[in-house]
Structures are given as structure tokens and as C-alpha cells.
């Protein structure tokens, strides 16, 4: 099955990319209240069991795909 990690900078941490993207978009008339740039990682794992798949995705996130000091994440099943 396929899952995805949505990884974003923690709210209290400065999001340098988000800041630059937001500024540029605003000069093109797109007014955003907020903008954050993170990562989207698609993982195809060797199981069909949703619960197991979820566990695997979390384990991978914690193994190093996510840096908990500056990022948080969510798992999505696809």
C-alpha cells in the first residue's frame, strides 16, 4: 500500500521558505494569511494492512525522515 508523510516546519520555528514564497506571491496579488513549505514523501510499503502500514510510516518518520526539533508530520494513507 502507499502512504505519504506530510512534513512541515513546527509553528514556533522560522519557516524561511514559507516567508519568501508568501512575499513573492503577495506581489502577484495573492494575499495569503499564512504560507508554509514542507515536504511530501510518498512511501510504498510491503503490506496491505492499513494499521501495519501506518506503523511502518511512523517508524520511518521517526528513524530520520522527520527532524523532531524543527518539524512535525502527519501520515496520510493513499
Amino acid at each position: 500500500m502507499k502512504l505519504a508523510l506530510k512534513i512541515l516546519p513546527k509553528p514556533e520555528v522560522l519557516d524561511t521558505q514559507g516567508r519568501a514564497v508568501q512575499t513573492t506571491l503577495s506581489t502577484h496579488g495573492f494575499d495569503l494569511k499564512e504560507c508554509h513549505v514542507g515536504k511530501y514523501i510518498v512511501l510504498e510499503v510491503n503490506t496491505q494492512d492499513p494499521a501495519e502500514g501506518m506503523e511502518m510510516a511512523k517508524a520511518m518518520a521517526e528513524k530520520g525522515l522527520v527532524n523532531p526539533l524543527i518539524e512535525y508530520y502527519e501520515v496520510e494513507s493513499l
Partner: protein, 717 residues
């Protein structure tokens, strides 16, 4: 919160607490705790080192600015000046290697351009633990990416560095960054003294977030088990913002729109505002509620202590404020007026119209504690019977084992990730022992870092001396006159007598060498408490030396360039160390350095002149791992072999010798009386083999080992 808890949170000890009460005439209240905590931290107050730093040799005819400002400045003549400084970011890099190292680079760059100099070069001094130690690959990878990520993006080339590995850094790596900035004709030097009653206090750059709150006091403590829970929000560096800040700040300075300027580094707004007021003998009001915030829920205390990156505080005349604001706007940055210079020498902190406190910056800064921590007089470890002929016989076959080690192998993996040529002025990049930048005047500026931790481990005084002498001789071997030095003193816990003893001894060794070589220390940084769970790092006083060459013609290479040329060994001094290879093999440490430093310096000067006047193709100081290792490294770049006849140990380390190759050995041999320089011909550049007496290796094979050592030790990164 109980008093005890408060003292612990703010890292103020009971006797310091008593002093605070004396100063205020009462108990500290509210944000006053935060102010004292920040300004009296080891990091900001240098409380354990100040008494010793005062003794440093810090002046020469060329020095325009020494300690006390953001960076030191040296006059190069011909209307050129350079500012430079080195700083540590050890603890943050151990916690989050990428951001820790990146913000270290950002911070040191701000120290340079705050003075009005355009950053022109970076260098980095790194100490890692054993490659197989826990997290070490991740740390190496993160630190190098972080340094590159920041430096490359702001567009300042990295010209040199040093990368060490030793088990004492397993739990406490060292990340020291040096920056050099250039003033050319008409560039003003800007200082940090606040002046002019009624002038505005202006905040520019990034908004303030909770980044690194309590960071400065944390850097003043050892790591322990609950460091984890004390972690402040990680400071994120934005090199893009920094670049905008560089351009805008240099522009307002050049347009004479600023009266004084100071970057917000450790302890952020607190230390910048108090120091600016203190230096200018004036007062300031600060409306903390007008500080641009990333998170509107921040408290005054958090605002005062935030270490958000890429921010500056400056003083500006009210009539120039609009013009100043326009410059920042052009670069996409905000400038906010957050206060005013006042006559009363106090800093008045205001929150939504209410005065939180008024404190005398003098009282806080000048009354900061100073400790003369206990230390022992140094017992030198010299063994006068230890000479090259008495040294234990070493097996030249070990050359392959040495070259295959990460300590001795190539560091190309590191510096390939750094832009070494942005700015289009690089004449020698990181692959050369001395980084060289071409000055607009056509002269060369040489940069080299010093401190060999294995020598420090042998003897702290000799190691300190070597931190100056070794790089000074490297500069000389390329024809550079040494100008001045910056340092970054990385040590363990100063409250331990043996650590303090090493600190004092190495500083004395450095100081004596600085005097002899006339290379004043004009800026620097002390980083104590580099210890984890009671284990300290090797004492590591890293240094950065800067030298000047009258032109870039015939700048010698560092590898053999021509078949048939002679290889000469030039002896500047007779001292000797059993060396790094001996340490790695767990053999007894032996060391002997009984030189007259002024004679060593005189001979070094003679060498400098000779490299400019006599025919010379390549040069290299005989380095760690000794003569055979040094010579082998000279064969790799062009695949040119060498045949050496030398009766002596191949891997012991002299204090000091230099190897050169030349097409005219007679000129060198006859140019000096032996008391000036001892010059011996030891071989010829020849063929494709490295031949040491009767033992021969293929250059290609040695080169492969040297270049493969990184991947072998740190596979997969």
C-alpha cells in the same frame, strides 16, 4: 518559584545574586532576572577568562581595532583594511548540526559587516569524534551541509579550514567559523557606541521569535542528562535574509545614515542594547512592544532573550530615519524605531507605555563577575634527550596505514561542498594549505587556521605556541608576512583546576608566540564548558592567521610540478614531537621544544623573503604525521614521484621544517649562513614512485588510499 529555582533557571549563583542585590539596592524583579542572566553568562561576560585575556598581545602598528568591538581591524596600507574574527557554535551544532553550524556562519558574518566591512572570506575549524561514534556521521554531514548551505547562499567563499577527529569530541563536537571582511577606499568603519541624545534606536531585519531563548546561558553550561528538556526553540538561519541585510547595512553605512550599529547575537536585544549604551556612556529607552514579532504572544522577557537570527540594532538621527528606512525597504527589509537615546545613563525597558525597569548599563556590564579561577603553574613535558636520532625507529611501510586514516586522508569531501570562488577573487582554494584571496590592489591576502589538538594533548603550552607558530610558518612558506590573529578558545569546565591550568598554559604559549612573530590577537571568542557527562574535550585553542603578500606572481604550489627539480628541507627549529601517528598507536608521548621563539620568528622572516626572491615551485610545512607523509602528499595532485634520501624517522613531527621544490637548489643553499636557515637537499622530483631511501611505493596507489580514506571511515555519506 522559589529563590533556589530562580537561581537555577537563570543560572546565577548565590554570590552573584548577592552582588545583584547590592547593585540594585533590592531584590531583582521581573525582566531584571533575564537581563542579569544574559549579561552575566560566561558567554557574554567572559567571567572566567577575562583576567587572562587582558594579558594578550593585541597591538601593533597595523592594528586599528582590537578587542572590544565586534571584530578586530588591521590596516593593509594602500587604503585597504580587513576585519576578522572567529567564533564557536559548538553546543547548537551538537543539538541540530545543520542549523547549528549554519547560524554559526551567519553570526560571524554579522560581526564582520556590522563594522562596515564587506565579507570576503570564510574559514572553518571542525573537531569531530571517532567516525564510528554515536551520531557522528549525521553530525559530520549536518555540520558541513549547514556551513555550505549558509556560506554558499550569502555568497562568501570558503578559503580554508581544518577537520580533526578524536575520541574526546565524541560527545561534544567543535564548530568554529572565521570570517574576514574587506574595507576598500572610502568605506567607513562603524562602531557600536550609542550617541546623540534624541537619536532613534532602530531595529532592522527578521522578526523576533522564541528562537534560542536562554541560549546564551545554556552555552555556559555543560551538557548533562536533562539538557534534552532544557532545549530552547532551535534557531533557524536564513542566509537569504542575511544577504539582504549585508547589502542594506553596507549601503546605509556608506551613506552615513548610521551613528552606531550592533548585531543581535547571543542574548539578542539585551546584550546589544546594554552594550551600545554602555560603550557610548548614554542611556536608551526600548519599547519592547514595538519590536516586530513573529509570534504576538511573546512576553517581554522572551523578547529580551530571543536569539532570532539576522537582526541588527542601530542608532540613527531622526532626520535621517526616512532615508534609512527607504534603503531597507529597497532590500525588502523593515526598519522599526523602537526607542531613543537619552542622556541619563540608564536603559529603560518599556512595555505598552509602562516602564518595566530602569537599569544602569554600566552597573550591569562593569560589575559583571570576574573570576580568577584556580589553576596550577604549568610543568612543561619537554624531554631534552628526545631528538630525531634517538626517536624510536618507525616503519616506512606504515605510510599506507597513515594515509588510509580519516585523520590523515583527504578532506575534499568537506570543501567540495563549499563555494570557494564566489566573489571572483580566489587565488588559492581550500585544496591549498593557505587560502589566498586577491585584493583589489593586486596584493594577496593569505588565511590559515591553526591548532593541532594532538600537540595540545601532549603539552598545553607547546600546543598553544604551535597554534600560532605553525600557521605563521605556513604563511611564510608561501611568501606572506603575518599580520594578525583571531582565536577561538575551546575548553572544558573552567571550574576544574586541570582545565583552567591548561587554559592558562596554552594562552601563555600562544601569547609568547604572538609577540615573537608580531601577530597580535585582535579578536576572538572563548567557549568553556565543552564537556558532556564530566568528560571534557581536548583543549583546543583554534586560531586564524591572516597574512599579506606584495603580489600574486610566482605564488608557490603545494605539490611537485616539474620532473627533475630538487627537493630541499629547510630547518627553522630543532624541536620535535613523537607525533600523531605515535599517539594513534598508543605509544609514549615524547616532546621537546626548547627554542628561542624570537630566533624562530627571525628565521621565519628570512624564509618569507626567500620565497619571494628565490626560484621556488612548491612549498609545504612538514605537518602532522611527519616528513614522509608530507612529501607523499606533494606527489598526488600531478602524479609526480619523488626520490628521497633521508636518515631519520619518517613520521616524527619537527617544530619546524619546510619542504620546497626548486629548479635552482644552489641559490637556496648558498643564500643563507647556517645560523640563518639550515638548507639540505634531500631528493629529486622523479618518475611515478614515492621512494623513501630504498623503499618504493607507486604514487597512484598511495593516492588511491589517501582519497579513499574518507569513504572507508565514513561510509555512505
Amino acid at each position: 518559584m522559589s529563590l533556589e529555582e530562580k537561581l537555577k533557571l537563570y543560572r546565577i549563583n548565590p554570590s552573584e545574586y548577592e552582588t545583584i542585590k547590592d547593585i540594585l539596592g533590592r531584590e531583582p524583579q521581573g525582566v531584571e532576572w533575564a537581563v542579569f542572566s544574559a549579561l552575566w553568562s560566561e558567554h557574554c561576560s567572559y567571567k572566567s577568562s577575562k583576567v587572562h585575556l587582558k594579558k594578550l598581545f593585541s597591538q601593533s602598528e597595523r592594528v586599528l581595532q582590537s578587542f572590544g568591538e565586534n571584530a578586530g581591524i588591521v590596516d593593509l596600507g594602500e587604503e585597504e583594511k580587513v576585519a576578522f574574527k572567529m567564533e564557536s557554535h559548538n553546543h547548537p551544532s551538537f543539538i541540530e548540526p545543520y542549523q547549528g553550524a549554519a547560524t554559526g556562519v551567519g553570526g560571524i558574518l554579522r560581526d564582520i559587516f556590522t563594522m562596515g566591512a564587506r565579507p570576503m572570506a570564510l574559514a572553518n575549524y571542525l573537531c569531530f569524534g571517532e567516525p564510528q561514534a554515536n551520531r557522528m556521521k549525521e553530525l559530520v554531514d549536518g555540520v558541513v551541509r549547514g556551513i555550505g548551505g549558509y556560506g554558499n547562499c550569502v555568497g562568501v567563499p570558503c578559503l580554508t579550514g581544518q577537520t580533526n577527529f578524536h575520541k574526546s569530541y565524541n560527545e561534544n563536537i567543535l564548530v568554529n567559523a572565521m570570517a574576514v571582511g574587506l574595507f576598500t577606499k572610502g568605506d567607513p568603519i562603524c562602531l557600536s557606541q550609542a550617541q546623540g541624545v534624541g537619536n532613534y534606536v532602530v531595529y532592522v531585519g527578521a522578526k523576533t521569535g522564541r528562537d534560542g531563548v536562554h541560549g546564551a546561558s545554556m552555552a555556559s553550561e555543560s551538557f548533562d542528562e536533562d539538557s534534552e528538556s532544557k532545549r530552547p526553540t532551535v534557531q533557524i538561519g536564513d542566509p537569504f535574509y542575511e544577504k539582504l541585510l549585508i547589502e542594506s547595512c553596507l549601503e546605509v553605512m556608506k551613506k552615513d545614515l548610521v551613528v552606531a550599529i550592533q548585531d543581535m547575537g547571543a542574548a539578542g536585544l539585551t546584550s546589544s542594547s546594554f552594550e551600545m549604551a554602555d560603550k557610548g556612556n548614554v542611556g536608551l529607552t526600548l519599547n519592547l512592544d514595538q519590536v516586530p514579532l513573529r509570534d504576538e504572544t511573546m512576553t517581554p522577557e522572551e523578547i529580551l532573550l530571543s536569539e532570532s537570527q539576522e537582526r541588527m540594532l542601530l542608532i540613527c538621527e531622526p532626520s535621517r530615519f526616512e532615508e534609512l528606512k527607504k534603503v531597507f525597504e529597497y532590500w525588502g527589509l523593515d526598519a522599526a524605531c523602537v526607542g531613543e537615546v537619552i542622556e541619563d545613563p540608564i536603559v529603560r525597558l518599556i512595555w505598552k507605555g509602562e516602564t518595566l525597569t530602569e537599569m544602569s548599563p554600566k552597573a550591569v556590564v562593569d560589575n559583571a563577575p570576574q573570576y580568577n579561577r584556580p589553576f596550577n603553574p604549568w610543568q612543561r613535558k619537554d624531554d631534552s634527550t628526545f631528538t630525531n636520532s634517538s626517536a624510536e625507529s618507525e616503519n616506512i611501510e606504515d605510510l599506507k596505514n597513515i594515509l588510509s586514516r580519516v585523520e590523515a586522508g583527504t578532506k575534499e569531501w568537506v570543501y567540495r561542498q563549499y563555494d570557494q570562488r564566489v566573489g571572483a577573487s580566489t587565488a588559492r582554494d581550500c585544496s591549498s594549505p593557505v587560502g589566498v584571496s586577491a585584493l583589489p590592489s593586486g596584493r594577496g591576502l593569505g588565511i590559515v587556521l591553526g591548532c593541532r589538538p594532538h600537540v595540545m594533548r601532549q603539552d598545553a603550552w607547546i600546543g598553544g605556541m604551535d597554534s600560532i607558530a605553525y600557521p605563521a610558518i605556513e604563511l611564510a612558506s608561501k611568501g606572506f608576512e603575518v599580520l594578525a590573529t583571531t582565536d577561538c578558545l575551546n575548553f572544558g569546565n573552567p571550574e576544574k583546576q586541570e582545565v583552567m591550568s591548561e587554559f592558562v598554559a596554552s594562552l601563555d604559549g600562544m601569547n609568547k608566540a604572538c609577540e615573537a612573530f608580531v601577530t597580535p590577537i585582535i579578536s576572538g571568542n572563548v567557549s568553556f564548558y565543552n564537556e558532556t557527562l564530566d568528560k571534557g574535550v581536548s583543549p583546543t585553542p583554534s586560531t586564524g592567521l591572516v597574512g599579506l603578500r606584495p603580489h600574486l606572481k610566482n605564488l608557490p604550489q603545494s605539490s611537485f610540478v616539474k620532473e627533475g627539480e630538487s627537493v630541499l628541507l629547510i630547518t627553522l627549529g630543532k624541536g620535535l614531537s613523537s607525533g600523531f601517528w605515535s599517539e594513534i598507536q598508543d605509544k609514549d608521548s615524547k616532546i621537546n621544544f626548547q627554542e628561542d621563539l624570537s630566533e624562530l620568528a627571525t628565521r621565519t622572516k628570512t624564509l618569507t623573503q626567500a620565497t619571494l626572491d628565490l626560484p621556488l615551485s612548491s612549498s609545504r610545512i612538514v605537518s602532522s604525521f611527519g616528513l614522509a607523509y608530507t612529501l607523499s602528499k606533494m606527489t598526488f595532485e600531478n602524479g609526480l614521484g619523488v626520490e628521497i634520501q633521508f636518515q631519520g624517522s619518517p613520521f616524527v613531527e619537527p617544530f619546524y621544517q619546510v619542504v620546497i621544490s626548486t629548479n635552482d637548489p644552489e641559490k637556496w643553499k648558498t643564500a643563507f649562513k647556517s645560523e640563518e636557515l639550515l638548507v639540505e637537499e634531500i631528493g629529486k622530483v622523479k618518475g611515478s614512485h614515492f621512494k623513501w631511501n630504498n623503499v618504493s611505493f607507486e604514487v597512484a596507489e598511495l593516492k588511491e588510499i589517501y582519497e579513499g580514506s574518507w569513504q572507508k571511515s565514513l561510509p555512505g555519506i
